[in-house]
Symmetry: C2
Subunit: 206 residues, 2 copies
């Protein structure tokens, strides 16, 4: 028993702070994520975390980056290499589920103004973009991958947020999954109707 009371040096305070921040976020929402609370939970003085994170935003960015990585894993786990619209729907469900299972984390990831300075943060979002692009390329080989990736990410992302904000019924996982699948289906059914709407008449004004 070499360490009667806590040793002066923590060992890996950086990681401990991240972990503590993550826990506080999941337990009591982003309002509870204060540097002091993090320090308390890590069993360390109030200002110690500043040795590892320049300010509160830096810590939040680190948490967000970890969230991006977990989201990517979660999506990949839902379907490693989606090739059909059905597969894509499964991934969409996983995306929304992640948001609903980690609401505060998801909000931190997307809902806070983020300076593009955080290296790991941008690289983590690029990874997600690449993942979506890959899916689009294999499911819709004939489409413009960039535009369609934008469309699909936006769609799924918006779906997640609307559920998160209580704009759509999110009472049970099954209800959500069904709703998401229905929305995906609706997405792929939109166009035929369109072909009878854009008429022979010349483009309207502008």
């Amino acid at each position: 028993m070499p360490r009667a009371s806590a040793p002066y040096h923590h060992g890996d305070l950086r990681a401990a702070c991240l972990q503590a921040a993550r826990e506080l976020l999941e337990e009591d929402g982003s309002a509870a994520l204060s540097l002091r609370a993090v320090a308390r939970r890590a069993g360390v003085s109030a200002t110690a975390p500043y040795r590892h994170y320049a300010d509160r935003d830096a810590l939040v960015s680190a948490v967000a980056a970890q969230g991006y990585r977990e989201l990517a894993e979660h999506l990949a786990a839902a379907h490693p290499s989606p090739e059909s619209p059905e597969d894509l729907a499964a991934v969409a469900v996983a995306y929304v589920r992640f948001a609903l299972d980690h609401p505060a984390l998801f909000r931190v990831m997307f809902a806070e103004p983020c300076d593009p300075d955080s290296e790991e943060r941008v690289s983590a979002t690029i990874a997600i973009w690449e993942y979506v692009c890959g899916i689009v390329r294999s499911v819709f080989p004939h489409a413009d991958p960039d535009a369609l990736s934008t469309t699909i990410w936006a769609f799924v992302h918006g779906l997640a947020f609307l559920h998160l904000d209580g704009k759509l019924d999110a009472s049970t996982p099954d209800v959500v999954a069904a709703k998401v699948r229905a929305a995906v289906r609706a997405l792929f059914v939109a166009s035929p109707v369109m072909s009878q709407t854009a008429p022979p008449s010349p483009a309207p004004g502008t």
Copy 2:
């Protein structure tokens, strides 16, 4: 000279707080939206706003509700009664533009956990939902209005957030408008491609 110095009673402090809150939000972001700052700007003691708003969240909710109303007006102004996909694209552009023109407000509206208690808040969001439904019904008379409304709102909403978060190039209004239109177009082109997706040729590498 009836009022040498400010009169004891403000007159309409409730509205003044809302106004001040809105200004602070636009000027310095949501972090600057403190009740004390609001009170200062309204030229009133720090605790006076509590007579009109139970707590900070109540004020924020009021600001959000006003934001919803303005968003609805903004959309209606973009196109009073959209009837074609082109019209719909114009509305989508307006939606995204609103988010980019009022980033902090938009975040307050959607990015904060919102208790569904705020009467005016829920009624304001219902109004937006009705508006979207109306569009969908007239543009896609043959589709399931509920599912497709969800799809389209989610899509446009996600588009707004991704631009807001710097995930998509938002350097100039024109770039954004073009991107949004391209995404809308991609949305309506998705399905034909889909029908040929489970193809004879095996998926390319990866």
